[in-house]
């Protein structure tokens, strides 16, 4: 008993780190996937996309860097799959300089591989990164082509078929933001959604999600909060479109390590309290 008491009271933080490392690595190696039931806030966004008529114009904004790629990429992939399956048109852009590379990931990993029939410029377009943060959204709200004079490959914007009937942000039927900070979903809501009554959907890191709950459901159609949100969206997508049963499970696979790590943290919280009470009794 005394050994346990001393061990807990003087627990080296490196032991905690080792426990977390194992909790993440083992499920990752074993491909421990976790399917989840979609929560109302995720289902609501899924339903909003389902309700859009075919050929709707949807902005997919990649506002995250390489650091949160494992958390954000599955969200972008799921959105791209859903939008293209429903025959919507995707306008891919980035408010973050580092988001442009993630945009390419989605094109390479999902669109080109899983939707070879989709035509660039007709079904999807890479608008790329533009500087200006929320100021950019503000400008796009009034004059879209004034800011995007070319696409991400340097092609004149007027030569791209799906850009023909676009003049302002209000011409879009929905804006989806995959983000991990500022500018992100909140800025899209404040500078575009609220002003133009454009439906906004968010997909953000778990930590950022807490900040966005106040906007749901009036200003935000739905929200994917962290990997769990992404995994729930994948569940909704796979149950409606079973063809993604094998390719569309990135978040569910990543959820395995996260779920185990959460359990380890819960255990640590319990141990922390045990050590606290043992220490108090000793005093």
């Amino acid at each position: 008993m005394n050994i346990l008491k001393n061990f807990l009271l003087q627990l080296d933080r490196r032991i905690i780190y080792a426990a977390i490392a194992l909790a993440v690595t083992i499920p990752l190696v074993l491909h421990f996937a976790v399917p989840l039931k979609p929560s109302p806030i995720v289902q609501s966004l899924f339903d909003a996309l389902e309700a859009l008529p075919p050929k709707s114009k949807v902005i997919l904004s990649f506002d995250y860097g390489p650091s949160t790629l494992p958390e954000n990429d599955p969200m972008a992939f799921a959105f791209a799959r859903h939008l293209l399956t429903r025959n919507h048109r995707i306008y891919m852009m980035a408010l973050w300089a580092t988001g442009a590379r993630n945009l390419d990931h989605t094109i390479e990993q999902v669109i080109e591989k899983e939707f070879p029939g989709k035509v660039y410029g007709v079904d999807y377009v890479k608008l790329g990164y533009k500087a200006g943060d929320e100021g950019l959204i503000n400008t796009l709200f009034k004059d879209f082509k004034g800011m995007y004079t070319t696409d991400g490959h340097g092609t004149n914007i007027n030569d791209i078929p799906m850009m023909k009937d676009i003049t302002t942000l209000e011409d879009f039927d929905m804006i989806l933001n995959v983000g991990s900070g500022r500018p992100g979903t909140k800025e899209w809501i404040q500078y575009a959604g609220d002003r133009g009554n454009i439906p906004i959907g968010g997909a953000v890191t778990a930590v950022e999600a807490l900040l966005l709950y106040p906007y749901y459901p009036r200003q935000l159609k739905g929200l994917l909060g962290g990997l769990q949100g992404a995994a729930e969206y994948e569940t909704a997508l796979i149950s409606k479109y079973p063809q993604f049963g094998t390719t569309g499970r990135q978040a569910q696979v990543y959820m395995g390590p996260q779920a185990v790590a959460h359990c380890v943290i819960l255990l640590l919280v319990i141990l922390g309290n045990v050590s606290y009470f043992l220490g108090r009794r000793r005093k």
Binding site: S39, T68, R101, T139, D143, L210, L266, L268, Y276
Partner: protein
């Protein structure tokens, strides 16, 4: 003079931007977007200032025989290496202003092979820090801390499939005891209420601080005495 000119600029620009919200005719509606682009251009030029400082401080330390010379060399080599690779667009056709993400470019290879994994690695250390902070912080020291502990426990459980299955057997009339129900309600109500209260306080703080800056009451960020 050194302080007065910036203060006059702050007063004029600040007032103009506040008024711009309520003036619907050109050039006011487009002003925010345009000026943020100007700021970005300014930031681009200011990078020279920062880059120069980095080189000077690092080179100085190397010259003085700093014990961490090795890391300082890594910084310098990384800085100049990336600069040369990017400017000369090594590995691809030389086209000023071309796409840096083109397949085959060394810049892209370094970005994908070194930069992105390094950034992800540093971000992922959060998992370790979250766990050690949780071990230390969530303790039932008093009533408030116990409430925080219970809420944290529910949220953590709610984020796992275990949380769903743990209380799934409860009958429907005990729905309010189910982890997913509690998880959602905690996020929707106490969390939202707390966030909103903090946000209102922050918004008012921002207004008051902005006004202090516009009126020149607060000028310590200019390095000067408050008048």
């Amino acid at each position: 003079m050194k302080k007065r000119v910036p203060l006059i600029i702050i007063f004029c620009v600040g007032t103009l931007f506040v008024l711009a919200i309520f003036l619907p005719f050109p050039p006011f509606p487009a002003m925010e977007g345009e000026v943020s682009v100007w700021f970005d251009i300014l930031k681009g030029f200011a990078f020279v200032l920062g880059g120069g400082n980095l080189i000077r401080v690092t080179a100085d330390k190397i010259r003085k025989g700093h014990p961490d010379r090795f890391y300082l060399w890594v910084t310098l080599v990384g800085f100049f290496g990336m600069l040369v690779v990017g400017l000369l667009q090594l590995g691809g056709p030389i086209a000023p202003g071309g796409d840096f993400t083109t397949e085959g470019l060394w810049f892209r290879r370094i970005y994908d092979g070194i930069f992105a994994p390094c950034m992800a690695a540093i971000f992922s250390t959060l998992a370790f820090f979250v766990s050690s902070a949780a071990y230390r912080a969530f303790r039932a020291k008093n009533r408030e801390a116990t409430i925080l502990l219970i809420a944290a426990f529910v949220i953590l459980l709610g984020r796992t499939p275990l949380g769903n299955s743990l209380t799934a057997w409860l009958p429907d009339f005990l729905n309010f005891l189910k982890i997913p129900w509690l998880f959602e309600k905690i996020l929707m109500y106490p969390n939202t209420a707390g966030q909103r209260a903090i946000l209102i306080g922050i918004a008012l703080g921002i207004i008051s601080n902005s006004l202090r800056l516009i009126l020149g009451v607060e000028r310590s960020y200019l390095g000067g005495e408050r008048s």
